[in-house]
Amino acid sequence: MNDRTRMDRDLEALRKLSAQDVADLDTTIQTIRRRGLDSSPTPWYSRRGIMALVHAVRTRPALAAAVLGALAVLVAMVVPVSYDRVVGQDVALTVAGKGIGGPEIRGIAEGLKSALGTNGVMVEAVPGDPGARFVLHTTLPRRSGGDVERATTTFARELASRGYSASVQVRPHVERVRYPAVAYALDQIIRIDVGGKSAASLEAEIRDKFAQAGIPDANVSVTDRPDGGREVKMTVERQRVNDGTAPPPEPVPQIVLTKDGAPLTGGEGFMVKIQKRKENEAVTLIAEVTSNGKSAKIEIPNANTMSDAAIADAVTTQLRQAGIDARVAVTAGKVSIESNR
C-alpha cells in the first residue's frame, strides 16, 4: 500500500469514527449547562472568566510578565512608604539695629511677608547687649531653596540700606511623609536640564536639588573646560557608626542631567563610592568605581595599618586590573579617586 492510499484510508477512518455516537444537541446542552452551573457559590460565568484569565497567563509568559509588571506598578502606586521629604523651606531673618522696636519690627514683618509671599511670620525677640535682636521665622511650601534664599537676601539688603543689620538663614523643612512607593522613587531621581545654563547656575541648581532631597551638604562643582566640555563633580560624605541602633543612612538620590528632555549621553561618567568599615580596630577600605560602563569594587583590608602611598598604589593597581584609568590620591587616609581623562 502506498503512502497516499494509506493516508487517505486513515483520514477516512477518522472521518467515519469521529462522526459516530454523537450525543444529541439537547443532551449536550444539558451537560454543558450542568458543567457551567456548578454548585459553587461563585457564578459559573465569573469562575470561567477567572479560569480563562489564569489559563491565559499560564500559557503566555509575555502576558504573565506584563500582568506581574502591572501589579508591581499598581502596588507601587497604592502602597505608601514612610520617608523623609523636603516639604518646604524654613526661613530665619535676624534683624538688629539701634532703636528698633515693636512698630519697626511689625513693618519689617509685613515687608518680609510681601517679599516672600507668605501668610504668616513669627517674630522672636532675643535680648542681648547692646540691644535686642529679632528673629523673624516663616516657612514656605516651595521646595526650591535657591529662590527663597535669593528673595530673602534681597529683602535683607534692603533692610541693610535702611541701617539695620540683617542676616538670613534658609534651611530645608524636612518632614516624615507617607506617600506611595512610586512617589518615593521619583523623589530619588533628580532630573536637571542643562540647556542654556551657565556653569554657576547649573551648580546652584544641583546643590539646590540635593538640598530639596534632604542633602544640604552636598559638595557640587561645575566647571567649563577649556576644550569646550563641562565637568560636573558631586560629592556627598556620610559617616555612620554601625552599632546596631543607628538607622540606615538616607539613600543619596541619583542626578540625571538632561538636555531637551533627553538624558545626556556620550559623556565620561565617573562615579565613586568610598566606604571605610571599622571592625575590631581593623579598617577595611571599600571603593566602588564606575567609569564609562566599567565598574570595579575594591576592598583593602587593614587600610589603617598602611601608608597613604601604599593605599594609593593598591587602589590604582586594582582599578587598572578592572580596566579603569583613574588618578588616586590619599592624604592622611582620605582617599580621592578622579578620572584620568
Partner: protein, 199 residues
C-alpha cells in the same frame, strides 16, 4: 437559576446550533486527540458562543461564526501544557482487542483513525484546522479563510504545508512498520469502538 434572558439566549443558541451540531462535534473530535478531548472542546466552544452570542450580527452567518469560535478554543487548548501524555501502547490494552472477523475489521479501522489523529496531532494547530476543515469537512478555501480570519493565500499555504507534513509522517511510517511500540508525546488516541464480537 438562569434568568429569563439567559433562557432565551440558550433557546436561541440551541435553535442555531441544531443544523450544525453533528458536524461541529465531529470537527471538534477530528481536531483533537481523542473523542473525549473533542467533546470537551465542543462544549467549551458552545459555552463561549453562549457568552458572545450578543455579538452575532447576522444569524445567516452563524455556522462560520461558530466554527471560528471552535477554532479559537482549539488554539487556546493547543497552547496548554498537557499533563496526560502517555505512550500509545499504554492506551492499547490487549484485553480490549475484539474477537472474530467483525471485531478485526473494527480494530483495523480504529488503528487507522488513531494513526490519522496522531499524524494530525503533529501539525501546527492552524495547519491541522485547515486540513480538517477543507480536506475532511469539505469546506471551501474561502470558508476556511473566513473561519480562520486569514487570507485565502494563507489558507492555501497552511494546506500545502500541512499536507507535506502528513506525507512525511506516512513516509516515516512506511519505513518503520512497528508504530505500535513507538512512544508518543501526542497523547493517547482513544476512538470509539463497537461492542465486542464474541463469535
Amino acid at each position: 437559576m438562569d434568568s429569563r434572558a439567559d433562557t432565551a439566549r440558550w433557546d436561541k443558541l440551541i435553535r442555531l446550533l441544531g443544523p450544525i451540531h453533528a458536524q461541529a462535534v465531529a470537527t471538534a473530535r477530528r481536531l483533537s486527540r481523542s473523542v473525549h478531548d473533542g467533546d470537551d472542546l465542543y462544549q467549551e466552544a458552545v459555552l463561549r458562543a453562549y457568552d458572545k452570542l450578543h455579538g452575532l450580527r447576522e444569524e445567516s452567518r452563524f455556522r462560520s461564526w461558530f466554527f471560528a469560535t471552535l477554532l479559537s478554543r482549539h488554539r487556546s487548548r493547543a497552547r496548554r501544557p498537557r499533563r496526560d501524555e502517555v505512550s500509545i501502547e499504554a492506551g492499547l490494552d490487549p484485553r480490549d482487542e475484539p474477537v472474530g472477523e467483525d471485531g478485526a475489521l473494527w480494530e483495523e479501522e480504529r488503528r487507522c483513525a488513531e494513526r490519522a489523529a496522531r499524524a494530525l496531532a503533529g501539525l501546527e494547530p492552524v495547519q491541522r484546522e485547515a486540513i480538517v476543515l477543507h480536506d475532511l469537512e469539505g469546506f471551501s478555501v474561502e470558508e476556511v479563510a473566513e473561519m480562520q480570519s486569514v487570507t485565502i493565500s494563507a489558507v492555501k499555504s497552511r494546506l500545502t504545508r500541512g499536507r507535506e507534513k502528513l506525507r512525511r509522517f506516512y513516509l516515516r511510517y512506511a519505513r518503520d512498520e512497528a508504530p505500535r511500540f513507538e512512544t508518543l508525546t501526542a497523547g493517547t488516541m482513544a476512538w470509539p469502538g463497537k461492542e465486542r464480537s464474541h463469535e
